[in-house]
Symmetry: C2
């Protein structure tokens, strides 16, 4: 796949110089790096990264744009919720029981390996050995500079051995479905294919589930366990009642949260793509399940084209994309509903704004067995990189799952109540309880028992009515009771069929959740915008759009002549006052060198002050990508900068308006 | 103290209506509130708060201003570092051993109590009982709505009993120094004064230290413990070498980080003031210790006046403030050096910009026994609130402590190397090691042993030279060795006195650290800007400066007449394009009511569109604080809004320029 990947100017993409650039310019760096090599250091720092100055600024600009594009544009209710979360909340949401990966232990060394990664690595190595035997060039898709040493050993270890054609096909099918196997299936694969730890060739024990949440204790007593959240969503859901009130009980609406989440990955890898601590931006859009999940602004995005990889195509073992408008996709039920479709389209527009290469974007539907435990449908925005297609945004329909389970556990009604325009007559099974007896019998749990009865479906009520009639008592599930259920006799409850006039409609909203992994998006974006001057791979460029570039303008005095200082200072002040970040490079390096350094930082614009400036007040303005320059008065140039940064003009407009400049220092 | 506190318009400050307002308008709210009342919930959610929409926006604006005021203004290197930190890092920094509070266990119930808070609460209760006996009115400084029930019981429990005058004086002295007692002293106080748990009157066990860091495990193996950081500083220090390189090895410079930290408080209280998860903004300014810690821009702040409470005044048991300029304070050594003084002044300017009442700001120097284990000197910016003086910013001189200990532990040189203009001759004790023997003897720890030898002070070297001479071997501390020390004989090392020509000067920078607790600042600020219309405490106002107000402009159509819609939409678009956030309130409530609601949110400006607007295009602009209005063309009003929001004009300028409007709906 790496071989196919092209940069913006059509050359073959090579990851090594980009990685070196990002490290050299401190976009990000491994956390606690000085400890990794310290003697006797036993900590595990894998999957932890710090962002340096340009990475920080880039991230802040992307987050700021996200807030404007989503939160402000649609008046979403923004929340900052705590990362520390009591265990009970994640018991309710299902994360304590289900948020796990499968992990194998090396039978001799005791090392832990993520089971699906193990199978993947071993089968890929065998396929490579086969290719090598057939004389085909072998590449390593997961190699990064820090892993290079380890990988070299791995690659060296590959047994060059030809496989028969059936085996190749079978391995390729397994690899295509590697995300979809559960523990039992992985155990079977490991046994049947004799998969061993590549590091030492030991057998591994059968996979066991490993919960990915970091556990801790909140408060001085060890009796109150807590977790670091693996997503921001639950913090939003438990505040639903307050949000609805704040929104004057009006539906639909969305909440949003930008914050750090944590996943204790078994084997972090691929740089920023699989880490243990990461920034997320999540939207929870609450919608009435009865209105076909329509969206009021769907018409604004109806004609936007998406490249889709739906469930049926994947089931057929294919990966060809279908290009269609969101309108078509929703009309033909490829995408389930308008709200989901609306957010897919808005996500595409956001990714386009920050500079993602749209030729490297697709939307992939989750397979049924691949979805999180809470999801009813899910589409990922995936970006193509040298590591393959990377899931960067998930758009999940979480149905009413979360609000329902939290309501059941806490006894708090997380519902919407709407006055009906026309009252309706409803014939239904009702529960009559003798609360005077229930109270003393169940004491502090009485509320939970009542809630369990009230939330019984009509089908269950009908069934229990019969059982109660026959047996004189029923047993219903109430999680918080010691035995997990309550035994209730005819003296306590009755099920009666009655007709009721309903003036108020009550429902639990469904949730559509677009969830953005900011770190992943940043890394993929950096791969998309990286290229180098033709024939000179030491001169890398990050073609970041002005809107999100860490610094917008580089100010360059021709030399360190003191007369340039006041001009530079004044330009800097004027631009800062207009909210445009600048950096001055007054070093002794040549102008060309100074521009090159800032091409690496993605600085889109450069202003040079030279001796002509001192005579006539003109300065030059340079375009990072073409290296072309114009020359005009400082006023005109500041105006052009503002227009380019705020995306009111593009470079062709400026070239058409201001005279080109060819002089000064050669770039080459 | 509460009785003395005045609002902006001179009335007595009352916390209850402010608390109610903040809760009602979702500035912030207790996290997981629906779980707290759920049956069988055992989690501990105290000290955890979520920010709703206005709180989020306020916090984002304050953080944005902080970044501009500090990071951009001085080209600081901003970092985002991980919160997860391996144990070793905090062992080195001293936090594993020393970052603890003293905690007592109730001898019968097993409840945990923070020892200093326990002593404080009990003595305050006794003093209240004494006051009550003397017929003086009693107030409760720590009461918040959620604690109200508990506190009512506590207040009710107070034994009305007169104390003798000596006892009163003694208790007051103890309370004044309550932050300064160590575990032994607290144990003595608890025994001597028979201090018991107010909740049940049981005796308590002697205080034990409780580490305030949240512990977890990083990775699948339980062999790599980690902590959530209690400060952002260590993440910055371990990156020092990369930062210095990024800064072209030029000194001085600063790094900065805005991020969440965690402290597992034993008994969180006082709302946002003592919480378990909080946002910090920290600067680490690296300075050459030999230059008297001068600051190049000190002259810019020299004349700024500060209200200081220094160590000597406090030692004398007083609290009278000394008002002097930063220049005077540094000249007279009240404040140790220019860099510390510079940041105190810049901190004052920042707090002033966000709207802090400067009459409620003081800078207090830490007492020697009150400082963190790493600090050489420390000044807190404290804000006066109904909870007393609250530490909101700490300006600590951490000396070379952190860089030295990390360098020692990791073997990485965290130093600055500068070419000397004139080489110097230095006579000194040098260590000659036989590395060929050291290597095989200490294997992987050899590097640590070498480093331990190289970092020995001249005094120690002289001493060891003598010992080596007499005994034939010495024993030096090397933390990572099993026994914690290395035994070295004459065959391995020699100490020799030599004269050396030094061309390169090498030094470990000292660190001046201004550290901001954003949540605390926000709460104190909200107390400072809260007041209500005279005679009507239901009409609260938050006089937040436009720069940081959550929403800048409220747009109000006179009625729901459809002709108003396009005008409102156009105004909103124009203001948003200028980067000014707006909200429209088109509800049926009266204009006065709509303005009142937004006074509570701190919205500084309001624009009304009425029937005259449809005729002549004029709109009115309202000042939140005076409720006065002007009327002018939409262009003029948009200009005025921009000038006010960007602090280029203040209201008197606008009143002088545009005609006053008195008409429309009455505010009263």
């Amino acid at each position: 796949m790496t071989g196919e990947l092209r940069t913006l100017n059509g050359e073959i993409f090579d990851r090594a110089p980009l990685d070196a650039l990002l490290k050299r310019r401190l976009f990000y760096t491994e956390s606690f790096e000085i400890y990794r090599t310290a003697s006797n250091f036993k900590g595990d720092t894998k999957g932890l990264y710090d962002y340096g100055p340009p990475g920080c600024a880039l991230q802040a600009n992307v987050v700021d744009l996200w807030r404007k594009h989503f939160v402000l544009e649609e008046d979403m209710l923004e929340f900052v919720c705590t990362m520390l979360t009591p265990e009970d909340v994640f018991k309710t949401s299902g994360h304590v029981d289900k948020f796990a990966d499968w992990m194998c232990k090396d039978s001799k060394t005791g090392d832990y390996l993520r089971a699906d990664h193990l199978v993947e690595n071993v089968l890929e190595a065998r396929l490579k050995g086969d290719k090598a035997a057939r004389g085909v060039k072998v590449e390593d898709k997961d190699e990064s500079p820090t892993d290079a040493k380890k990988n070299k050993r791995k690659v060296k270890d590959i047994k060059i051995a030809k496989l028969d054609d059936n085996t190749v096909t079978r391995y390729e099918e397994i690899l295509a479905r590697i995300d979809n196997y559960d523990g039992t299936e992985l155990a079977t694969l490991i046994k049947r294919l004799d998969i061993r730890n590549p590091d030492g060739n030991n057998k591994v024990l059968p996979p066991i589930p490993f919960n990915l949440m970091f556990k801790t204790t909140i408060g001085p007593s060890s009796a109150s366990p807590g977790y670091l959240r693996p997503e921001t969503a639950q913090g939003q859901f438990v505040n639903f009642k307050k949000m609805l009130e704040y929104n004057n009980n009006s539906m639909p609406f969305a909440s949003a949260s930008i914050g750090t989440s944590f996943r204790n990955e078994i084997s972090p890898r691929s740089g920023l793509l699989r880490v243990r601590e990461f920034l997320m931006a999540e939207i929870e859009h609450y919608v009435d399940p009865e209105g076909e999940k329509k969206h009021a602004r769907f018409d604004e995005v109806r004609d936007i084209e998406l490249r889709l990889l739906d469930r049926h195509v994947q089931l057929a073992g294919k990966s060809n994309l279908r290009v269609m408008t969101v309108g078509e996709a929703v009309d033909t039920k490829v995408v389930d509903n308008e709200t989901l479709g609306y957010f897919l389209a808005r996500t595409k527009l956001f990714l386009e704004k920050i500079g993602v290469d749209l030729g490297k974007l697709r939307f992939r539907q989750h397979m049924a067995n691949e979805m999180a435990h809470y999801a009813a449908d899910c589409w990922d925005a995936e970006l193509l990189t040298s590591y393959g297609w990377i899931e960067c945004v998930g758009c999940a329909d979480r149905s009413a799952y979360d609000l329902t389970v939290h309501a059941r556990r806490t006894g708090e009604a997380l519902v919407v109540r709407e006055t009906r325009q026309e009252p309706v007559q409803i014939e239904e099974w009702q529960v009559d309880m003798d609360k005077k007896k229930l109270g003393p019998k169940f004491r502090k749990d009485a509320k939970a028992v009542e809630l369990a009865l009230e939330t019984l479906s009509q089908d269950k009520r009908e069934l229990y009515a019969t059982i109660l009639d026959h047996r004189g008592s029923i047993s219903i599930n109430v999680a918080c009771l010691p035995e997990g259920k309550a035994e209730l006799g005819k003296d306590l409850i009755q099920f009666v069929r009655r007709t009721r006039t309903e003036n108020i409609r009550e429902y639990t909203p469904n949730v559509i959740e677009p969830s953005f992994g900011i770190g992943r998006i940043l890394y993929c974006l950096l791969e998309h915008v990286y290229w180098h001057r033709p024939g000179d791979d030491a001169r890398g460029i990050l073609s970041l759009p002005p809107l999100i570039a860490p610094t917008k303008v580089l100010l360059v005095p021709l030399s360190n002549h003191p007369d340039f200082n006041p001009v530079i200072r004044k330009l800097s002040q004027r631009l800062r006052a207009a909210g445009i970040s600048t950096r001055t490079d007054a070093s002794n390096a040549s102008i060309g060198k100074r521009y090159s350094r800032n091409d690496e930082l993605g600085t889109p614009l450069g202003i040079t002050v030279d001796f002509d400036t001192l005579k006539d007040g003109t300065v030059t303005l340079r375009d990072r990508d073409s290296t072309k320059q114009v020359r005009a008065s400082a006023d005109d140039v500041v105006d052009a900068v503002a227009a380019l940064v705020h995306v009111k003009e593009v470079w062709p407009d400026v070239f058409a308006r201001l005279p080109e400049f060819r002089g000064q220092s050669a770039e080459e």
